[in-house]
Amino acid sequence: MADAVFLALTVITIGSAIAALELRSLIYGSIALMGTLGGVAGFFFLLDAPFVALFQLAVYVGSIAVLILFTVMLVKRELIFKKIEDKRRKFAGIGLMLVTMVALGAVFLDSGIKTITTDEPATDFRDIGTDFVMYYWPALILMGLILAGSVTGALVLAKREDVENDQRAN
């Protein structure tokens, strides 16, 4: 069954996921989100997938979390500390969460997943490289194009208003 490292990672991941959504300050919330993403990276290490874990640390904790922090800094001070949520929906949301967890958990516990164990060696990162180059190379190229397109689109979206502001100032 689960060992101590797994339990610690579970507490960190689930706890900081709740904190990310419930802490009053958005800045502390985004730092708690970093904890969740780091905890998932720890799970990847436990699953003998160090390549994906380091990718997760570099992309999620390194760039996405920092990007979110910078966006939070652009928001007005009182909005960072203001909790905006639907009070009426709060209990409905908690109910939905519990129903999802119980239903899916029961399905998984009843299914044959419990009996799956493996003694096979972990996937080598060379296999992942082979997969990328041999089978998924069109998807890899498409992914590069999507990334370039989305980042360019994001820059254009964020930039357009500035140009109008400058014109207005002139």
Partner: protein, 101 residues
């Protein structure tokens, strides 16, 4: 490795539940983005866990694709937040009513 597949699956179910709660209850655009990130991470955890236990290298490959696409999604989402914030001076999605039918 002592943890089993069902343990990782249950953790990911818990993360999915928390993400759904965030999407349903929160009206802050940035918090909703947090919830989406948590759900995406739950999916990635499932991919890698099943890839490890089945065992198949496809799980890790797909997780890498998913992480890269999520990075693109966050970039676009954050720029949309910045544009909406400039237009409405607020991050409450109830105020973003321009496209309401």
């Amino acid at each position: 490795m002592t943890s089993e597949l069902i343990d990782f699956t249950l953790v990911s179910v818990a993360m999915l539940g928390i993400g759904i709660y965030g999407l349903a209850v929160k009206r802050n655009f940035i918090r909703m983005l947090f919830a989406v990130e948590i759900i995406i991470n739950a999916a990635n955890l499932n991919l890698v866990a099943f890839g490890r236990f089945l065992p198949h290298s496809g799980g890790q490959t797909m997780a890498l694709f998913s992480i890269a696409i999520a990075a693109a999604e966050v970039a676009v989402g954050l720029s949309l937040i910045i544009v909406a914030y400039r237009m409405y001076q607020n991050v409450d999605i109830a105020d973003f009513r321009s496209l309401k039918g």
